[in-house]
Every structure is written in C-alpha cells, then in structure tokens.
Symmetry: C2
Subunit: 371 residues, 2 copies
C-alpha cells in the first residue's frame, strides 16, 4: 500500500485491523464500492439490485472472472467458479464430487482447518490421514514428497496455509497424485502455479474480498468423476454447466472480489504482492525474534506463514494486557485463537505495512515495560 | 416510498428497476451502506472487513435478528438463521433434515420453483406431489384445505408466491400438517403469521436485501428430527447450535438485510407495507384490465401476485418492441421469463409507486399506438 493510500486510510479513522478473517480490503476498492453504491456505472441501480441474468451483472461477472484468471494465471483448462458456503461447504462438496465409491483420498493435516476437512470427508467416503501434525501442536508443515500415500488415491488434500496455527508450505506441491488445496488464507499472497493443483478453493474473506463467496479453480477433467444424483447446488458439473449461476449467485461479494483482484493486478501482480508480504511479515517476525524469549512464535522457522503470525507471551495476564493496550492504540483483533493461545497478527495483502511497523514498535515497548 | 425518497432516487439517476431478483433496495438503506462503507460507526473498519466473532459484527448480527423478529413477529420458539446457498440449497437441506427414512413429504406445485423443490426433495426421500398446476400452465394456486395429503406426511411444502408465474396464495395456510414454505418472493410484503408454518425460508434478494443470504425461520421442535451424520454445513442443528456461524457467514448481506428490515419497521411495519403493495399492484393490474384484450394477465384473478405481474401482449414482436421502448424510458427488466413469455413487472417492497404509474402510462400509450 502506498503512502498516499495510508493517508487516505488515516483520513477515514480506520484502525489497524489484524483480523484473521474477514480481513482488510484495499481502501481504493472500498471507495469505489461506496461511490458506485446508488448507481453502478450509469446502470441506474446498485450492484446489489441487478438481475444476475441482466447485461450489467453479466459484465461484472465476466470482468471478475477475467481478473481472477489474469491475477492468478489460471490455465484455460480450469473452471473458475464462485460458490456459496465458504471453504466449509467445499469440504463436503469436494468429497461428494471427487471421492468415488470404493476409493480413498489422502489428507495431510497441518491444523484446525485440515481437521475439519477430514471430518467432512469421512462422512462421504474413504479417507486416509497421510500425515497429522497434531502431536507437534501443528507447528509445522511436512515435506509432501517424503510422505507415503495410498495406492492410487482419489486426491491428496492439503491446507496450504493454516489460519489458526500460522503454518504454510510456502511452495506449491510437487507430487504425483492430484492435489486438492484449501488456499483460503494465503491465496494470491504470492505467485503460485495453478497447474500444480487439481483443484484450489478459497473463501474470499481473507485475501480476496468479503465473505459469502468461495473461489473454486477446478481442472476440467475432474468433472468426469462427478457421480450422478448429487443435489444440484453441490454438484460441480451443474455449477460449471450453468456458469456458477445455477441459482442467484452472491452478486455483491463477486463484484468486490473482482475489484480486489483488479487492484492487485494494477499493483504489479503476485510477484509484487509476494515481495510486499515478505517485507511486512519480516517486520513482525523480527519483533518476535528480537524480544529475547518474551514473544515466542508458534510456527517452526521453515514454514512460517506470512499471513497469520501467532505468538505467545509469558502469561495469560500479559496476553490480555497486550491485547487491551494494543486496542487502545488502534490495533484491533490481536487476540489469538483459543486453541493456540497468545496473540495472532493476521497481515493479509491489504493490511498496510505501517500497521506492521506500529505493531513492532508496540511489541518492543510492551516487552520493555513488562519483561 | 415517500415523495422525498422518490426525488432522492431521481437525483442519483436511478432507473425503474422491474427485476424479478435481485431487486430494488430502499434508497435510504443504500445511502447508509454507502456512508458507512469505510468505517462502520466508529469501528475503524468496513462491515466487510470485520471478524464475524468480533464485538462490532456480533452487534450487527444481534440487531439484524432483532429487526427480523420485530418486523415479522417471529415467535420465541422459532430459530432465525441466516444461511448461504439461497432457496435452492434449502430445497436440499429441508429434505435432508426433515424428511425421515421411510417417511413421505407432500409438495404442492404451483410453478417453477415448486418443481425445483420437488426435484431436489426426490433425491433425498419419499416425495408425493399432492397437487400440480402444470396442466393449467401454473396460472393459479389451489385451496390447500381441499387437497388430499399423504397419511401423516413429514411436511407439506408450498411456494407461497411463484416468482415466474406470479401466482400467490395471498393468505397463510390453515391446514393440519406441518407446512414448510418457500416465501422468497413475497416475504415481508404483507402481514403473515409465522406460527402457521413449521418452517419459512426466503432468499433475501427480492424483498429483504442482497443475494448471498437466505433467511430461515425454523420451529425449534423440528430440530429433534434432524438425523445424525449430515454434512455440518447442511445440518439445521449444527447451524442453530452455532448461532448460524458454524463458519463465516455472509456478513455484508446480513448487515444490509438488517437495514432493510429496520427500514420497513420505521415505515410502519407489514400492515403499512401490505397496503402500499396492494395499491402499487392495483395500478399495474388496472392498466392490464383496462387495455381490452391487448395485455393479458397470466394469473387467475383470485391468486394474483402483488410482487410479480406477468402479462402477455398480442405477439412476440410487440413484446420485444414494448420491452425495448420501456427501457428507453428508464424502465428496465420488463422481459418475462421464457417459460411464460410476454412481460413481467416485479414490484417488490422497495419499488416506488411512481414506477407503477410510469409503467401504467406507458402501457396505455403503447397499446393505443399498437392496438
């Protein structure tokens, strides 16, 4: 985010919002959404009021799909779908669609969301947990190439970045079987190669826009596996054949998602976004490392998320005092998830680097006063 | 809508939007959403950026549920849920949750949406079509008390107002079995008695706000019927126990839905809304009836929808000319659904009466020139 944009944010009295999701949206996107609220580009209506079969919204839909394909370099043989129900409904849908009767799917579990994917998958078919980080408190991601998988698995499911535990593979997988990937909390945070995945899905509310829409990138040949007789709303084939408009889509969320993608294209694309995020995360990790043992990172060094940075303090009392004092300084949502404890700073794409510096300064001062 | 609001709408260059859905939203709601876009009520963030577990959004959630309960007079023993996937996903969910093994559910089919409910229901269990208006081209609703139902049906499913065919029961059902009702296109358009239904559901994008959220009112004892082992996102018990936040809800759509309900409470509640809608619909039906046989209504007189008014013209050529000329006059989305043909004027709660008068004048002039 540029200095000009930082100043605009200050003018609106905006806080530094460290929410793990829904998270920050670029200020220029919010400004455009605001300015177009009563009358989208001369259409005489708000985006929220448009027939999803009408010309105006079909143009928005096309622009949004184009922006996703351009920003993420989506190959032509992948469908781009905007579905409802978030990643949690995908846990069920992907198993219903891709895990055939008698087949086994392998799941690599690196945190809370991977666990939920397993639970939902087990209701639908044969699930094998190929690796589980629970005994290590989900503080790391494994080397996928070194794991043993089922013979001919339907797919291997991974969670690229675990939002709660803040562990990330930091690279695309390079394994043989089809990889299905929950990319909710790190999608579009750095360059990635869609062709390394059979399917990518991501709830939008971290890096792509508002909640209520889930992006699905699906290699087209996977549609051949979809069994007959699925509920139509849960059927990738039905959703693909109807251009993700089997029923009324979440129009507003799709619109904002398109603006967000366009924003990062104009910013310089995912290479530029990735450099910015490395720099931002380094500011916070340096503050953790520089504190002696006052702040302790949850994730092992080789797999530290650049999006979600959980860290603990010496006691629960100090944690509470930290969160409260930070809030008074305009830094919100720093309380960690109860399963990990401590604090968590989520610094998604649209989170300004000024906020990382502000947090680092605050951490230093707080440790000095309480260490 | 008051004259002041009509003038505000004109100032924004808004068209008369006859869309069948997503449809019109009250101008003051759009203005508030616009004004709060960058910083919701001093929170330092947009509603789209808020953690759904944070104080600010929990306040919005509570206010929204309160507004729904107040506007619609929802009894205390009904859950209010805001779910994703629209009415189409409810077609599947309600059968998965409420139609037990070996049971039969009765469906009364008065149009296209009832047909879809039947198709989805059949995938889940025993479905009996108690009445089907297809042979009469879905031009009427039956007397529910006069139909023969299965012995002890799990529920009787009705579509209170069919959006495409424009037929409406215009009254709450007074029958013995539990009634499950798709109220998408007429909810909150007039007073209704929630206690006459076991469950009411409605995609928001017609009378309640933007797409992406589906309101479900569920009598609590129905939760006892929910079988074990449903996918968690499709389980009414899971959704109820988690206060419709098993995962991240569609926050923005929920927020706008709350503003819309509050708007109609301030307007005078559903009695006042009902009177307004009767008046608005009468303007259009009078124009149809007064045309000789130039315009023909689709629905039989006793069940004419006040929300969706389909009518035909003497030829397809005249229909196309009508739609095109109306658009040039700032009246959009008047083309009817292909299954009925002709035109359709959807005049939801937020559609201004000035637009009904404008349409009536236009219809008169068009018939005079082309009759």
């Amino acid at each position: 985010m540029s200095q000009v944009q930082d100043k605009a944010a200050q003018a609106y009295g905006r806080s530094f919002n460290f929410s793990a999701g829904p998270g920050v949206i670029p200020v220029p996107v919010l400004e455009q959404a605001r300015d177009e609220m009563l009358n989208w580009q001369g259409s005489g209506m708000s985006v929220m009021e448009m027939s999803h079969r009408g010309k105006a919204f079909l143009k928005i839909a096309e622009q949004t799909e184009d922006a996703v394909r351009t920003l993420m370099g989506v190959p032509a043989n992948y469908k781009v779908l905007f579905l409802q129900g978030g990643a949690s409904l995908q846990f069920t849908m992907l198993a219903k669609n891709l895990l055939g009767a008698g087949q086994t799917a392998d799941y690599v579990v690196t945190g809370a969301w991977g666990q939920k994917a397993v639970e939902a998958g087990k209701l639908e078919g044969g699930v094998n947990v190929a690796w589980d980080g629970k005994s290590g408190k989900f503080s790391e991601t494994p080397d996928l190439a070194g794991l043993t998988y089922s013979p001919d698995p339907a797919y291997v499911h991974i969670t690229l970045n675990e939002t709660i535990q803040g562990v990330d593979y930091l690279a695309d997988p390079g394994i043989g079987p089809d990889v299905v990937c929950d990319m909710s909390s790190c999608i579009a945070s750095r360059p990635f190669d869609v062709s390394k995945y059979a399917m990518v899905y991501a709830g939008a509310q971290k890096n792509l826009g508002p909640s209520g829409v889930c992006l699905v990138l699906l290699r087209e040949d996977l549609l051949e596996r979809v069994p007959a007789g699925l509920p139509p709303m849960l059927d990738y084939k039905v959703q693909s054949e109807n251009g993700w408009m089997y029923n009324t889509p979440p129009c507003w969320s799709v619109y904002v998602l398109g603006l967000v993608c366009r924003h990062w294209i104009d910013f310089g694309g995912l290479e530029a976004v990735g450099r910015m995020n490395e720099e931002k995360a380094k500011v916070v990790y340096d503050a953790i490392e520089g504190s002696g043992d006052f702040y302790k990172p949850h994730a092992a060094p080789h797999c530290r998320s650049r999006m979600n940075i959980p860290f603990t303090l010496p006691s629960d009392e100090l944690t509470d005092a930290f969160v409260k004092a930070a809030l008074a300084e305009g830094m919100s949502e720093l309380k960690g998830h109860r399963s990990v404890g401590g604090c968590r700073a989520s610094v998604y794409n649209a989170f300004p680097i000024a906020g990382c510096h502000a947090l680092a300064e605050f951490m230093k001062a707080f440790a000095a006063s309480n260490g």
